[in-house]
Symmetry: C2
Subunit: 137 residues, 2 copies
DNA sequence: CTGTATCCTTAGGGATACTG
DNA sequence: CAGTATCCCTAAGGATACAG
C-alpha cells in the first residue's frame, strides 16, 4: 500500500499523504525560507536529493496543490500556492521543536523565540493536561 | 542513504530524520489524541500498520526520545516523553492545515477554530510577505 | 498480548547518462 | 538548465507464522 493510497478520514493521515516523506518538506523549506525557485537550486541543497526523486516530488507537490510551476524550459520557476503558504505554521513548529531538541543547533534566534511565545498560552493548557495524564498513571 | 543517515545542520532536516515518514506521526497522534497506549491499540488504527513496521517505529521513536516504554509483557504501555509532548504544536498545525484543505473533512470544530486564532497575528505578517513575494514576480 | 521472524513484493532512491 | 530514462540496489512494507 502506497502512502498516498492509504485511506482514512483522519486529518493527520491526510497531511501525511500529502507530504509525509523525508523530501517533500525540504522542498517546501527551500521555497519558504531560502528563496529557491529552480530545479538546480533544489538539487543543490545540503541534503543532495537525487534528480529523479526531485522530479517526482515536484510532481506530487504540484498534484497536491502545494506548489505551482510557472514558465517553461530554462525559465521554469516554482513557487508556493496559498495552500503551500498555509504550511508556514507547521514549518515554524517543526523548526521550533528541532531548535529545542537538537543538541547541534545553535541557540534559538529571535525568529524562533517570537514564534514560541505567540501561541504559548493555548498550548500550555493542553500540554499540562497531557503531562499530568502521564504522571497520574 | 537512509533518512536517518542524511546529515545537515538544518532543523527541518533534523525533524524529518526523527519522524519524517508516513507512520511515526500516526503513533504520536494515537498517543496524543486518542488515548492509545498499547501495541494492539496502535495496530488496530484505521491505517492498519503492519506489526513489523509498528515494532520498528516504536523502536525508532524511543531511540529519538519521543516516546517511552513502561512495564513489560502484557502490561507494556507506551507514553509520550516531554520531547514527544512538545510535538503538540506541530500536530495541531497539521490538523489545522488538513482541516482547511481536505474537502472530505467535516467543518472545523471548536478545537481547530481556537488553535487557528491563537497564533494568527504572528503568522499573518509572514504569510503576507510570502504571498506578496510571489505576486511581485 | 507483545512482540519477532520470515518470505516476498514493491517503492524509494543513488549514480549516471542522456535529451530538448 | 530542466528535466527523463535507465540500471541496480536497498529499504519499506504486507502477509503470515511463530515465540515468550
Amino acid at each position: 500500500m502506497k502512502r498516498t493510497d492509504r485511506r482514512s478520514d483522519c486529518p493527520t493521515n491526510f497531511a501525511l499523504q500529502a507530504f509525509g516523506d523525508s523530501w517533500s518538506l525540504l522542498v517546501v523549506r527551500d521555497l519558504m525560507f531560502k528563496g529557491k525557485r529552480s530545479f538546480v537550486e533544489f538539487a543543490a541543497s545540503d541534503e543532495h536529493i537525487a534528480t529523479n526523486i526531485l522530479t517526482d516530488r515536484l510532481f506530487t507537490l504540484r498534484r497536491s496543490g502545494i506548489i505551482r510551476r510557472d514558465g517553461t524550459g530554462r525559465a521554469t520557476r516554482y513557487s508556493l500556492t496559498a495552500k503551500g503558504v498555509d504550511l508556514l505554521p507547521l514549518m515554524i513548529e517543526m523548526i521550533v521543536w528541532a531548535a529545542r531538541h537538537d543538541g547541534r543547533s545553535a541557540a534559538p534566534g529571535a525568529f524562533v523565540r517570537r514564534a514560541t511565545r505567540a501561541r504559548a498560552e493555548l498550548l500550555a493548557e493542553m500540554r499540562a493536561r497531557l503531562v499530568l495524564e502521564h504522571a497520574a498513571r
